[in-house]
């Protein structure tokens, strides 16, 4: 484990333990707000799924399950690499932190790339809500709602991923060899954030992609 005496301690804290626990509580309180942020979207989904079950089933069938499952696997992989980055930080391994953060960034990049492909497919198929929406199906207007929620939710999720990637780049840069000693807490709270992003997708995936597969 990294030598505690070299880890920076902010002036307003008494000791490392207080700093560490306070930082963890702060991050969890922030994640609490993130839960409610996505909660609003899930509520909208719940309301409209309840109202228009057939339309949702039909619209969900237009999503690409292969790409969705692939992305889920990629994101889970990125959670693992992030957990390993946190582990490396606690063990004081600067190289490990940088390597595993880069791996996470690459995984995130793959996810976002696949998402971009999916979005472009939707655009070509006329499934983007708005002036060019073309999917009539049997339930017409109500399927547009599904796609509004699809783009809203996955878009918000992707935005959170982009922010996460930015933060990872910053943290990886700080952990580069020959830089001042960094606090493992930084990587740890980043890890909490990234796992949260994974959690959101764990619920988005079945609710968006797997609805009507059995019909």
């Amino acid at each position: 484990m990294a030598d505690p005496s070299t880890i920076p301690l902010a002036h307003h804290f008494e000791d490392q333990e207080q700093q560490h626990e306070t930082t963890a509580i702060g991050m969890w309180a922030f994640l609490l707000s993130e839960v409610m942020f996505f909660g609003g979207l899930f509520t909208a989904y719940l309301v409209y799924r309840n109202r228009y079950p057939e339309a949702f089933l039909e619209a969900s069938g237009k999503l690409d399950v292969t790409l969705g499952t692939l992305n889920t696997a990629v994101l889970i992989g990125s959670s693992l690499t992030m957990a390993l980055a946190v582990r490396a930080a606690h063990m004081g391994s600067r190289g490990g932190v940088v390597r595993w953060l880069l791996a996470t960034i690459i995984a995130a990049g793959i996810f976002l790339g696949v998402k971009a492909v999916e979005y472009s497919h939707k655009f070509h198929d006329g499934l983007v809500p708005g002036a060019n929406y073309a999917f009539k199906g049997t339930a017409s207007a109500d399927t547009e709602l599904f796609f509004a929620l699809y783009f809203g939710a996955t878009g918000m999720h992707a935005l959170h991923m982009v922010i996460g990637v930015g933060l990872m780049a910053v943290v990886a840069w700080r952990w580069r060899p020959n830089n001042v000693v960094q606090h493992p807490d930084g990587v740890e709270v980043l890890g909490l954030y990234w796992h949260f992003v994974d959690l959101v997708w764990i619920f988005l995936f079945p609710l968006l992609y797997l609805l009507g597969r059995h019909v």
Binding site: H11, H12, E14, Q18, E21, T22, T23, I25, G26, A29, F30, L32, S33, E34, V35, M36, F37, F38, G39, G40, L41, T43, A44, V47, Y48, R51, Y52, A55, P129, G130, A131, A141, D142, E144, L145, A148, L149, F151, G152, M156
Partner: protein, 542 residues
């Protein structure tokens, strides 16, 4: 020289004001006290901006005809008045100014848990404020501060997206402040400062922070959805696409009802501090008051549908929300009873802060009780969207919250600045504000009950007398609000210097210099007694 008026005036010690006068040291400060002052300046500006809009509204309502401004302009006025007052004054006020300034002092800490985050909160607030100012100067938004769909999402021609963006950004300021306070209160209490020895101000800010963190994100995503609907026709609230405008209201009020508790809880914390000090007594039923703050925070999330009784919500859901609304009144009532019991057999001194606290109790009681009327389905059908509602929320927000804010300023001004203001002028201002306030808003209860709808710039002739009365009151109220600006600023030049504890109050903040040293405490205090331990000698001296 009259020895009675001169207190020894040594050169001021090193404090958080005078250790560095550069602009950079202010704009890049991590000192919670300086950040509190920065917030004080910004929210005062927004308060006066919102006040100007109120003046124009009341001027228009002097006559039944719409002769001062056009209907569209009037819609923009009441919208911007609401947006500015709610999001840029009421919500941040006490937490951002007094919470920031006092929490570390009350806890015996050197700063908040995350000082840099604190500064970021202020900058985020300012950016949101700039967006809103932009909206004001570009012609305003006319949807009402409640942004109901489908008007806001589809039909409005005003700057809805910019306004939504301003509010969205400022919401983050609130969330980050809440995060900071939660972490600070949990982990940065001085040795011996257990939860039940905390000042009630701290309890109320803890409860407020929970609401900030849990509620604000929901309104954030909601206005994002409105913006997306305007930009990309995403259609979540658009009936043409199968959407339900009422879903907007559910998501909006899920936050905006608890938001009113974000506004009032810190004020209640202030009142506890003031009442204890100027009765020279412990707060009666300390634990009840502490837990009632938590109960208000929790129950406050269960009642939002009472804003939607007339808009198409199911009758069953309305009944459920009505019942829950009656429940949430109970913890507020508990506070009022306990404050009153504290006053009983206390050694009361009618200082300016105490005048504001007593005013709060009475006016909040009226506002709160009328809230119960509104929670009653049958009555609400009659008075919803009338001036009864307007009067109700101004009684709790202005008669309650703003009084608490003014009380806080007058109580902690000597601590923050090291100067005393003119008690004589302050008491006069308090009286003027009290009279002006009631004259403005009490007639509005009557107007609402008689059927005058809100958000209309024209009204039937029979309502003119009460409207003129209300506007007259507003001019008195406005004058009253201006007075503190003058005598408080004047005190910085010519006021008597205050020592560490001019009110002989209990609490860790009164053990440090006025103004405090940048690092608050020379040595970390160790706490051995509960809050408000006013002993018999204190009672005599008060």
């Amino acid at each position: 020289m009259n020895p009675l008026t001169v207190t020894a005036v040594p050169k001021p010690k090193r404090n958080f004001w005078n250790h560095d006068f550069s602009v950079k040291s202010w704009l890049l400060t991590e000192d919670h006290k300086r950040i509190g002052i920065l917030y004080l300046l910004s929210i005062t500006l927004f308060f006066f901006l919102g006040g100007v809009m109120a003046v124009l509204i009341r001027l228009e309502l002097l006559t039944p005809a719409g002769d001062l401004v056009q209907a569209e302009t009037y819609n923009k006025l009441f919208t911007m008045h609401g947006v500015v007052m709610v999001f840029f004054f009421l919500l941040p006020s006490i937490p951002a100014v007094f919470g920031n300034f006092l929490l570390p002092l009350m806890l015996g800490a050197r700063d908040l848990a995350f000082p840099k985050l604190n500064l970021l909160s202020w900058y985020i607030y300012m950016v949101g404020g700039v967006f809103t100012l932009f909206v004001v100067f570009k012609g305003g938004v006319d949807t009402g501060w409640t942004f109901y769909t489908p008007y806001s999402s589809t039909y409005a021609n005003s700057h809805v997206i910019a306004a939504a963006l301003g509010i969205f950004i400022t919401g983050f300021s609130s969330i980050l402040t809440g995060v900071n306070f939660i972490a600070t209160i949990h982990k940065m209490r001085a040795p011996g400062l257990t939860w039940f020895r905390l000042p009630l101000f701290v309890w109320s800010h803890y409860a407020t922070s929970l609401i900030m963190v849990l509620g604000t994100p929901v309104v954030a995503i909601t206005i994002v959805l409105v913006a997306l609907e305007r930009l990309f026709r995403l259609g979540v609230f658009d009936p043409e696409l199968g959407g339900d405008p009422l879903l907007f209201q559910h998501l909006f009020w899920f936050y905006s009802h608890p938001a009113v508790y974000i506004m009032i809880l810190p004020g209640m914390g202030v009142i506890s501090e003031i009442i204890a000090c100027f009765s020279r007594k412990r707060i009666f039923g300390y634990r009840f008051v502490a837990f009632s703050s938590m109960a208000i925070a929790a129950l406050g999330f269960l009642v939002w549908g009472h804003h939607m009784f007339t808009t198409g919500q199911s009758v069953f859901a309305s009944l459920v929300f009505s019942l829950l609304t009656f429940l949430v009144a109970i913890p507020s009532a508990i506070k009022v009873f306990n404050w009153t019991a504290t006053l009983y057999k206390g050694s009361i001194s009618f200082s300016t802060p105490m005048l504001y606290a007593l005013g709060f109790i009475g006016l909040f009681a009226i506002g709160g009780l009328t809230g119960l009327f509104l929670g009653c389905l049958g009555l609400d059908i009659h008075v919803h969207d009338t001036y009864f509602i307007v009067a109700h929320f101004h009684y709790v927000m202005v008669g309650g919250m703003v009084m608490a804010f003014l009380g806080a300023i007058h109580f902690w001004w000597p601590k923050m600045t090291g100067f005393m203001y003119s008690e004589f002028l302050a008491k006069i201002a308090a009286a003027i504000i009290f009279v002006g306030f009631n004259m403005t808003f009490f007639p509005q209860f009557v107007l609402g009950y008689l059927g005058m709808p809100r958000r209309y710039h024209v009204y039937p002739e029979e309502f003119q007398v009460l409207n003129v009365l209300s506007t007259a009151g507003a001019s008195i109220l406005g004058f009253g609000f201006l007075l503190p600006a003058f005598y408080l600023i004047y005190s910085l030049k010519a006021g008597r210097r205050a020592g560490p504890d001019p009110w002989q109050a209990k609490g860790l903040e009164w053990t440090v210099d006025s103004p405090p040293h940048p690092h608050n405490f020379e040595t970390v205090p160790v706490v051995t007694e509960g809050a408000y331990e006013y002993g018999p000698e204190e009672v005599k001296r008060g």
